[in-house]
């Protein structure tokens, strides 16, 4: 128990654990979009949108890389940057 956490740097590529094509969402999201859980070798699973891949080509187990992309605006109209995942070639461990 506690709130003492440390920041660690982890790899920017992982594998797709599972995914869905979301076709109905809240108004701030344009549908359809691909949503997935990506597993990283450090033992972390992160949810994010997947871009740069045709929906039909998505497969559980595919390799994905983190990418920083524009992600809408905040309440005052300032651009936000968020993370997404894109298909990538496996570079080995």
């Amino acid at each position: 128990m506690g709130r003492d956490l440390e920041t660690i740097r982890f790899s920017t590529t992982g594998t797709l654990y599972t995914f869905s094509i979301v076709r109905q969402s809240t108004p701030e999201f344009e549908v359809p979009y691909a949503l997935g859980y990506v597993d990283f070798s450090e033992g972390v699973r992160i949810m994010g949108q997947i871009t740069g891949c045709d929906f039909e080509d998505m497969r559980i187990g595919m390799s994905l890389a983190l990418s920083l992309e524009p992600f809408g605006e905040d309440d005052e109209g300032n651009p936000l940057t968020g993370y997404r995942f894109q298909p990538c070639e496996v570079e080995g461990d």
């Binding site: 869905s20 076709r23 969402s25 559980i60």
Partner: protein, 380 residues
């Protein structure tokens, strides 16, 4: 310590109620539960009211509406387990010896609170990247298909079963049976889930009257059903990624309930489980230990979960068929189990049912497997 008994149950029709609000619905259910118990409403000593989006003091508005204002009243929010948690709190008040007769109410006027897909709280980091509840369950469905070979048609059989059951339930939101083709051709929501895989936006309320041994002796009780266990857990933090095709939270809560009741999954005659989505029913019944992991889709295909089957699941129609007014859901499940055990449900009656389970699970918070889970065991 006293046992806890349910003597009275009530529930509104589930569906759209444009001319009522959550308090009106809760009041209707409460009055029916009191009448069903055959007690004077003034015998009720305290009340708990579960709801999610109905705002402050909805429970007090219900009591005011039925002339019971003044009782100790606690509003309970625990996402989709809110109503079930209200029953647990009522049972604890009885077990503690503080009260002898307590009402538990669950209500939600969801059509005026929400449209479209339910999403996690906006502060949730996963909501910020586009997580919706259908999306999360769709991902679990896809993973389950990958691991256990479940087909899309097998998954579709769950809404087909539940809407067939709902068609036999006069209080259900949906009255029309559907086919596998209807499920597969319905509007895609989050692949592989379509509209018929999802529970609807529903208004409704339900209530139960729980009491102690002493009160049961006073009021007489050959219609009483014993609440043998009412277990609650919150999800633990996932330090490492865990399987999304099995529910440790449901499993752990069920173990608490089975241990308390002295009953195992093999003794269960029916279960109402939290089928907010078709895949959810699979994960629930396997987490409850009622079916082996990976085996449920084929069991449904063989008819084992039908009302006439080996172990009927969601005879009321479940959330998918009967409807899912968040706060009302957990109480309505217990209402169904009580009525089944009393033999009062007409053509959806499960013959000889003696032990029933009600399972709820709700809410989402990043990093934990699930927010609130309840498992209640009822015995007659």
């Amino acid at each position: 310590m006293t046992d806890v008994h349910i003597l009275g149950v009530g529930m509104t029709r589930f569906g759209r109620h444009p001319d009522s609000d959550a308090a009106d619905l809760g009041a209707e259910a409460l009055l029916e539960a009191v009448a069903d118990a055959g007690i004077d409403a003034r015998a009720v000593e305290a009340a708990y009211c579960g709801h999610v989006f109905q705002g402050m003091v909805t429970g007090q508005r219900i009591l005011a509406e039925v002339g019971l204002a003044g009782l100790p009243l606690t509003n309970v929010e625990n996402a989709c387990s809110s109503g079930a948690t209200a029953i647990r709190e009522a049972s604890l008040a009885i077990r503690a010896g503080e009260h002898d007769v307590v009402a538990a109410i669950g209500t939600e006027h969801l059509t005026s609170s929400f449209k479209g897909a339910l999403t996690p709280d906006p502060s949730d980091p996963e909501a910020a990247v586009g997580a919706t509840m259908p999306g999360v369950y769709a991902m679990r469905a896809r993973r389950y298909m990958e691991e256990f070979g479940m087909t899309r048609e097998q998954l579709a059989l769950i809404p087909v079963k539940n809407k067939a059951n709902a068609a036999r339930n006069p209080l259900a939101h949906f009255k029309t049976p559907i086919t596998i083709e209807d499920v597969l051709e319905s509007r895609p929501i989050a692949d592989p889930l379509n509209l018929h895989d999802c529970s609807p936006v529903t208004d409704g309320a339900a209530a139960v009257i729980v009491m102690s041994d002493r009160a049961l002796r006073k009021y007489g009780g050959d219609r009483a059903v014993r609440l043998a266990a009412s277990a609650l857990r919150s999800g633990s933090v996932d330090v490492e990624p865990v399987s999304m095709t099995f529910e440790p939270l449901t499993w752990a809560t069920a173990q608490d309930a089975y241990e308390r009741a002295g009953i195992g999954p093999g003794d269960v005659d029916l279960a109402e489980v939290h089928d907010c989505f078709s895949i959810a029913e699979v994960l629930r019944v396997e987490g409850l230990g009622l079916f082996e992991q990976g085996s449920y889709p084929a069991a449904v295909e063989r008819g084992e979960a039908d009302i006439s089957g080996r172990l009927p699941i969601n005879p009321s129609g479940g959330l998918i068929g009967k409807g899912h007014p968040l706060g009302g859901t957990g109480v309505a499940q217990v209402v169904e189990v009580v009525r089944q055990l009393r033999g009062e449900v007409g053509d959806r009656q499960i013959e000889g049912a003696r032990v029933g389970v009600a399972h709820c699970r709700g809410g989402k918070a990043v990093g934990i497997e699930g927010a609130a889970c309840t498992v209640q065991i009822l015995v007659r």
